[in-house]
């Protein structure tokens, strides 16, 4: 066995890779459970790819057969119901895990130097994930699938000059039809390849800059511990907790994330009374609806998703540490999470009276937080410097071995 390994090692850095990037990979010892979500996102990705592969063996991407083939999977295929509910619940789990992963990054300031590329590849992954989920939602060919795709592809009408042509080009016809279903199936199958590729880049970047940690300050080498066995054990425990919640939905409430209307076959002649996207699109959908103008709404919605990428520029404070040592930033973070929740709610219910106003205010707050961040973060830096940094930060920075240096500019 060791002879074989030597043979491989002479030709490929296998042992070196395993040691440097898997078992011996240096990890900050103070990571909290919020750092489990990156691993969980990777796990859900594998779960989706594998369950999706088996679904694709029985699914028929044909407008006259798609709906029936899903019922065939649910009723006739051995454990088809399990595979399908894992996949449909998995989509929601993916977004839940990613949203928490992003919230952790925002809270602890993990997007700051030197981890900007991690944040931007993550932003790319979010966009790919959203696209994949959107393509996948058409495949069951239910009423909500059909009309959701109709509404979203219709947004491209806002494109200047070529609006109508682009919509027809995307759909492969004047409305959603068989051509759309086939191409969405192909893209739904193809996009995960892009996701996997970008995940690898995300991981290479991670292994260059290493994990951030709750203190927000890069720790001295002695405070890093090998990934195995410490974080393999911790990730397994986190995975167990995640799976309990996940399986609860799969086995006991699998239709929780599926709109009742999607159990009615797509009918191009009958618009549902109330078209809602999946829950993970609701905040962005609420922003779209809050702007009365179509082009304005589309731009605002797009901006609300990609604006995260600007965080490394918008946050101008040099105070080390995340929200933990930055009281003003912390308040902004909590306002943002609450605002996100309000937008989710507004996106889910039919727009009426006061809710329209609430949605508009929440949209305004959403963008105002990002717009004001450069000024607030700078002012906060000055204020904290005048007041003196928290004792823990001073101590961490003073410890000779910490690679981070920071001096108040005052």
């Amino acid at each position: 066995m060791s002879k074989l390994l030597n043979w491989v090692d002479a030709r490929f850095p296998l042992s070196e890779f395993v040691k440097q990037d898997l078992t011996g990979y240096p990890t900050p010892r103070n990571l909290s459970y919020w750092w489990n979500f990156g691993f969980l996102a990777g796990f859900v990705l594998v779960l989706q790819v594998v369950s999706g592969l088996f679904l694709a063996m029985h699914y028929k991407p044909d407008a006259s057969l798609a709906f029936e083939s899903i019922e065939h999977i649910m009723r006739e295929v051995n454990y088809g119901w399990l595979i399908r509910y894992i996949h449909s619940t998995g989509a929601s789990a993916f977004f839940a895990v990613i949203f928490i992963h992003m919230a952790r990054t925002l809270y602890y300031g993990s997007y700051r130097a030197p981890r900007e590329l991690m944040w931007w590849t993550g932003q790319g992954l979010l966009l790919l994930l959203m696209a994949t989920a959107f393509f996948g939602y058409l495949l069951p060919w239910g009423q909500m699938s059909y009309w959701g795709a109709q509404v979203i592809t219709n947004l491209f009408r806002a494109t200047p000059f070529f609006g109508d042509e682009i919509v027809i080009w995307l759909r492969g016809g004047f409305s959603i039809g068989d051509a759309t279903l086939t191409r969405f199936f192909v893209l739904h199958y193809f996009f995960p390849f892009l996701i996997i590729g970008l995940v690898l880049i995300h991981l290479v970047a991670l292994h260059t800059v290493k994990s951030s940690n709750p203190s927000g300050i890069n720790l001295a080498a002695k405070d890093n511990i090998p990934f195995h066995p410490y974080f393999t054990a911790k990730d397994l425990y986190g995975l167990g907790v995640f799976l309990i919640v996940f399986c609860f939905f799969v086995f006991f409430s699998p239709e929780f994330f599926i709109e009742a209307d999607n159990n009615i076959p797509a009918n191009p002649l009958k618009t549902p009374a109330h078209i809602v996207p999946e829950w993970y699109f609701l905040p962005f959908y609420a922003i779209l609806r809050s702007i009365p103008d179509l082009l304005g709404g589309v731009v605002a919605m797009g901006l609300s998703v990609v604006i995260f990428a600007a965080m490394p520029f918008l946050d101008r404070s040099h105070i080390p540490g995340g929200a933990r040592y930055r009281p003003v930033y912390r308040i902004l973070f909590y306002i943002f999470v609450l605002d996100f929740a309000v937008l989710t709610y507004v996106g889910a219910v039919p727009p009426s009276g006061s809710l329209v106003v609430i949605g508009q205010v929440a949209t305004f707050i959403y963008f105002a937080l990002f717009a004001l961040l450069p000024f607030i973060s700078k002012a906060e830096e000055k204020w904290l410097c005048k007041r003196g940094l928290p004792a823990e930060v001073e101590e961490l920075l003073k410890s000779k071995s910490s690679p981070d240096k920071f001096n108040c500019p005052l």
Partner: protein, 218 residues
């Protein structure tokens, strides 16, 4: 307020708002404590075969599936006539005639419970919401202007005994339609108990493992 409480409150409010946004759009449906026993499903199936099947199809249920809810081979043979066991249950009235009669194709019933918020409760409420006004005009309170004529003659029920009997029949039909929409529900829940129990034990072991591993750390 410390950080943990804050996080808890925020994610809690997020869940609450999301869950509420679904609940708030539910119409008020009858509160029924359904008994999903196989006997009830079977009685419901018998009513459905006698009444609903006149106009509606049960596209995703095949005659052989009736064997799973307590029908015996002979009973199924009577229902299917010369249709093979492995065919979907279709309506006894030709679809063209039914759609001419009602102005639309009567919808497939096998997925109906899943296709309406509230499932069996929706179906129960719908079937018990027929009533007659002073001009002897029958309409449905849950679905005004519904094209389906009162299938159980609920609007013209005469006395309490008759009403009780009808309520029971409608309850059984609702339970049956819940089954046709999700025939694997029982198997799924049974498997679920084992899976969750296994996961709880496994997670506890992982927790012990994590603690043991981390204790070696100075």
């Amino acid at each position: 307020m410390n950080q943990k409480t804050m996080t808890f409150l925020l994610f809690g409010s997020f869940l609450f708002l999301t869950a509420n946004s679904r609940a708030s759009s539910d119409v008020s449906l009858a509160e029924v404590d359904f008994d999903h026993s196989v006997e009830n499903i079977k009685s419901g199936a018998q009513v459905a075969m006698d009444v609903c099947r006149l106009c509606h199809e049960f596209k995703y249920i095949k005659y052989r599936n009736l064997l799973e809810i307590g029908f015996n081979k002979d009973e199924v043979d009577v229902l299917r006539g010369d249709m093979p066991l492995n065919t979907s249950i279709l309506s006894t009235t030709k679809p063209e005639i039914a759609s001419k009669l009602f102005g639309m194709m009567p919808p497939d019933l096998s997925l109906m419970a899943k296709a309406r918020r509230g499932g069996a409760r929706y179906i129960y409420t719908l079937l018990t919401s027929y009533s007659m006004d002073a001009e002897e005009h029958v309409d449905n309170k849950l679905f005004p202007g519904i094209k389906m004529p009162d299938p159980f003659a609920y609007a013209i029920r005469t006395d309490d005994v008759r009403q009780k009997e009808l309520d029971q029949r409608i309850e059984n039909v609702s339970v049956f339609l819940q089954w046709t929409s999700d025939p694997k529900a029982k198997e799924r829940r049974r498997t679920g108990y084992y899976v969750i129990a296994y996961l709880i034990v496994l997670t506890f072991l992982f927790y012990l493992l994590k603690r043991k591993v981390w204790r070696t750390l100075k």
